[in-house]
């Protein structure tokens, strides 16, 4: 299945957002996930099935400033 992750087209194996994160070795606590411009709750990740052409944004924390 072809989706866009952070602006780049990607072929993904997983069915759900949580599976895609797992395949990328990303802990759900490390990112905020947006699907087609809508922020997903953490408890929605396992139940959200991805469709062909979906746009996923994985927003990592950026804590620095000093």
């Amino acid at each position: 299945m072809q989706v866009t992750i952070n602006g780049k087209p990607e072929e993904v194996g997983g069915e759900t957002i949580l599976e895609i994160l797992k395949a990328k070795d990303i802990s759900p606590q490390m990112v905020a996930v947006e699907l087609n411009s809508k922020i997903l709750e953490r408890d929605e990740l396992a139940g959200t099935v991805v469709k062909n052409g979906d746009a996923i944004e994985l927003l990592f924390f950026m804590g620095g400033g000093r």
Binding site: Q29, R42, G63, G64
Partner: protein, 272 residues
């Protein structure tokens, strides 16, 4: 007030602003009447303070409880080698006044806390986030929501930077996107991870530009979109976000009704 329109020195100093149709004498006067709080006189706060001072912002508040450390000088350009050991707010004040003596600088030599945040933030029109840790970033976001003050958020880590402008109650807040800080130790902040020094200049000056746009009420703000910058690829990317009805702070059923501080991160190396 940093701008007296009939002073020749002032008209000359700000001439490149006054020439802009978006600024003009009127806009420059607004800049001179503005009160901006910079939280953290470090990597982001340094360039932001320089450019806001040069622009003639009437009052710049600086809050930081740290002293200048040798390891700061790789990116915190408002401090100099001779300042090591000196409170950052003092060092920054001296540099601001040397650049533009018309600016009133208010220094707060302390950390922003749940106790002092509303009082300090309440005295300013706009807040610029230049802190280096997640608990402080969430505290600033929450305090600006309760005080209803526009906030220009900034973050840097390694080769990546982010800017995000928040109009509390009107546009998405930091918690609309990131509910709460990551568990301690899972995500590095630049305290322990390192950062390319010049990146602080890029992100801090974008923040300063957002502050000026807020003062002037001109242009399109970075609200409801995150601007992410990847210095490795020299690429900017914009990510649309929107107010989240489930936001624990500004959502429909807020759980956060007063200020608090998240647990501080446990750092292996403390170099900030």
């Amino acid at each position: 007030m940093a701008f007296i329109p009939d002073s020749e020195e002032q008209v000359t100093r700000y001439s490149r602003h006054i020439l802009l149709p978006e600024v003009g004498g009127k806009g420059q006067k607004k800049i001179g009447q503005a009160r901006v709080l910079i939280v953290g006189a470090g990597g982001l706060g340094s360039p932001a303070a320089f450019y806001l001072a040069a622009a003639g912002v009437g009052t710049i508040g600086l809050i930081d409880g740290d002293v200048v450390d040798l390891s700061n000088l790789q990116r915190q350009v408002i401090h100099q080698t001779a300042d090591i050991g000196r409170p950052k707010v003092e060092s920054a004040r001296a540099r601001i006044l040397a650049l533009n003596p018309n600016v009133a600088v208010e220094t707060h030599y302390t950390r922003l806390t749940a106790e002092n945040a509303l009082d300090i933030i309440g005295r300013y029109d706009i807040v610029l986030d230049g802190v280096d840790n997640f608990p402080a970033k969430f505290l600033i976001n929450d305090a600006c929501f309760f005080a209803q003050k526009p906030l220009v958020h900034g973050g840097i880590l390694r080769f990546d930077g982010r800017v995000f402008t928040i109009l509390p109650g009107k546009s998405a807040c930091y918690r609309c996107v990131f509910k709460q800080p990551p568990p301690p130790g899972l995500v590095a902040s630049c305290q322990e991870a390192g950062v390319i020094g010049a990146l602080a200049g890029i992100i801090g000056t974008i923040q300063a530009t957002e502050v000026l746009k807020l003062i002037l009420d001109r242009g399109r703000l970075l609200t409801d979109r995150l601007l992410d910058y990847d210095a490795r690829l020299t690429r900017f990317r914009e990510i649309k976000v929107s107010r989240n009805p489930k936001c624990p702070l500004c959502g429909d059923q807020p759980e956060i009704t007063q200020l608090f501080e998240h647990e501080p991160e446990v750092c292996a190396v403390k170099t900030a």
